[in-house]
C-alpha cells in the first residue's frame, strides 16, 4: 500500500504488523531541525539528527519521548542504526 511518500509493507494487515518505507530527499529529510543529510554520510551518522528531529517535535511543551535503546546494527550486511522509543500517550483535548 502506498500513502503519499510512504510505502507500507505488511503480511497480515497493517494493524497487526507493518514496515513503513519512506524515501526522503537530502535537503528536507530533517525539516524540524533544519538539517540535511549527505550522500557520503555513514548510515550510523544519521541516527543523531534523526533522533534530534523526533525530540524537537516533542520539545515544544509536550512530554519528551524516551529513548529506550539506540545502537548501531547491521541489516543485510549494511551498517545502520536501530532504536526503540517510548512516547507517552497524549490525552484528548477537553470537549
Amino acid at each position: 500500500m502506498q500513502f503519499g511518500d510512504t510505502l507500507i509493507v505488511t503480511r497480515d494487515g497493517p494493524s497487526i504488523q507493518k514496515i513503513n518505507l519512506q524515501v526522503r530527499k537530502h535537503e528536507s529529510v530533517f525539516d524540524d531541525i533544519k538539517a540535511m543529510s549527505k550522500a557520503d554520510m555513514l548510515p550510523t551518522e544519521l541516527a543523531g539528527p534523526y533522533i534530534a528531529d523526533l525530540k524537537k517535535e516533542d520539545s515544544n511543551g509536550l512530554p519528551s519521548l524516551t529513548i529506550i535503546s539506540n545502537e548501531p546494527v547491521r541489516v543485510s550486511g549494511q551498517a545502520t542504526f536501530s532504536f526503540y522509543i517510548y512516547r507517552p500517550k497524549h490525552l484528548p483535548a477537553l470537549p
Binding site: T44, E57, L62, A93
Partner: protein, 384 residues
Amino acid sequence: MKRSPLRFIPALLSGVIVLAGCDSMHVRTLEQSSDIQQLTDDEARRWYAAKELDRIWQHQGLIYADDELTAYLQSVAVKLYPEFSETVRMRVIDSPDLNAFALPNGSVYLNFGMIARMENEAQLATVIAHEVSHFKFQHSLKQRHAMETAVIAGWTVTILSGIPLSGELLALGAMSGYSQDAEREADREGFDRLIRLGYDGAESVKVFRMLQQEADVLDTKEPWFYSSHPRLSERIQSMQSLKAEHGNSNGIANRERFAAMTTGLSARLLEKYLIAHKYKQLIQLLEDSALRARYPTHAEFYLGEAYLQRKAEGDEEKAQAAYLQVVEIAPHFAPAYRALGLIYMQREQKAEALRFFEQYLQLDPDAEDKKYIELYRNRLLEES
C-alpha cells in the same frame, strides 16, 4: 512521522466554540479566597474547565516537578496576595519558552524557562503579581472580546508559545484573551503590590526588557508573550512611568534566595534549548559574557552546539574553539570531547579524532551513544 501544527485545529476550534457559547454577565473582582464559595454558573463552568486543565497537564507530565521550587513560588505569591493564600496555586510547566499565564480558578503557571532567565526574586514577583492580578480581576471572564480575532490570536499562540492545548487556554481567556486595558490594569495592580512589599521596581522593567530582547532575537514582530497584549515597548514605557512615580530606588531584589531556590534551572534551560534547536537563544545568552556568567562553566559547549545548528559561514570553527575552551576550563565535561572527535573525524584528522573519542569514553563509560563512538573509534583504529 511528521506531525503538523494543524493537529491543534480541533482543540482551537473547540476553544472558540466554548467562547461563543458563553453569555455576557456581571463579573466581580475577587477580594478574598472565600469569594469563590458563591460562583455564578459561568464562573463555575470556567472553574471546572480550568481544574480539568490542571489535572490533564499534571497527568500528561507537563508539570516540572520540583516541590521546593513550587513551594518557593507559592510563598512569593502568598506574600504578594495573602488574601488568596487558599486559592492561588503556583505551578511550573516544563517548557523553555518565556511564558506565564493564570487560569480562572487561580492556578498560575510559569514556564521553567521564564524563571531560568530571571535574575532575582523581584523579577519573579513581577510576573507572579501580574498573573494573580488577572485572577483577582477575573479578566478571563470580563473578556468576551473580539471573536473575529480569536482564531488569529490562537494560531499565534499555538505556533509560537509552545503551550499545548492552547484552544482551551484561549477559551478560558488565559492567553490571548485579555484586552490592553486589562493588561494595564494587571500591570498597575501588580506593580503596586511589589512596591508595597518593598521590592525594587526597576526589576519589573527588566523583565519586560528581557521579553523584548527575546522578541528581537527571534525577529518576532508581535511578541508572542500574550500576543494581543499591548506592545512590549509600550509596556516598558508604562512600567518606567510607574517606577518613576511610585518606585523605590533601593528596593529588595533577593538575589541570593532566588539563586538558591532556582539552582539547576540554568543548566536545564541550555539542554532544552539545544534539544529544541533554539540556537538563536543559546547564542544570544552565551555570546554575552555578562549573561554567560550565570551559567555553568561548561556552558560554552552549548554555544558550540548552537553554532553547529546555525551553520553560518565560520560556525564550525567557532564551535571547535568553544569545545576546546570547555576542555580547558571544564576538563571533566565529556560531551565536549565527543564533539571534537566528530569534528576531527569529518576532517579526516584521524589521530586527533581517536584521541578525543578515547577521552570521551573514559570520562563517560555509560554514555547513551557509547556504541556509536566505539564504532567510530574502532574504524579509526583499523584505518590507522
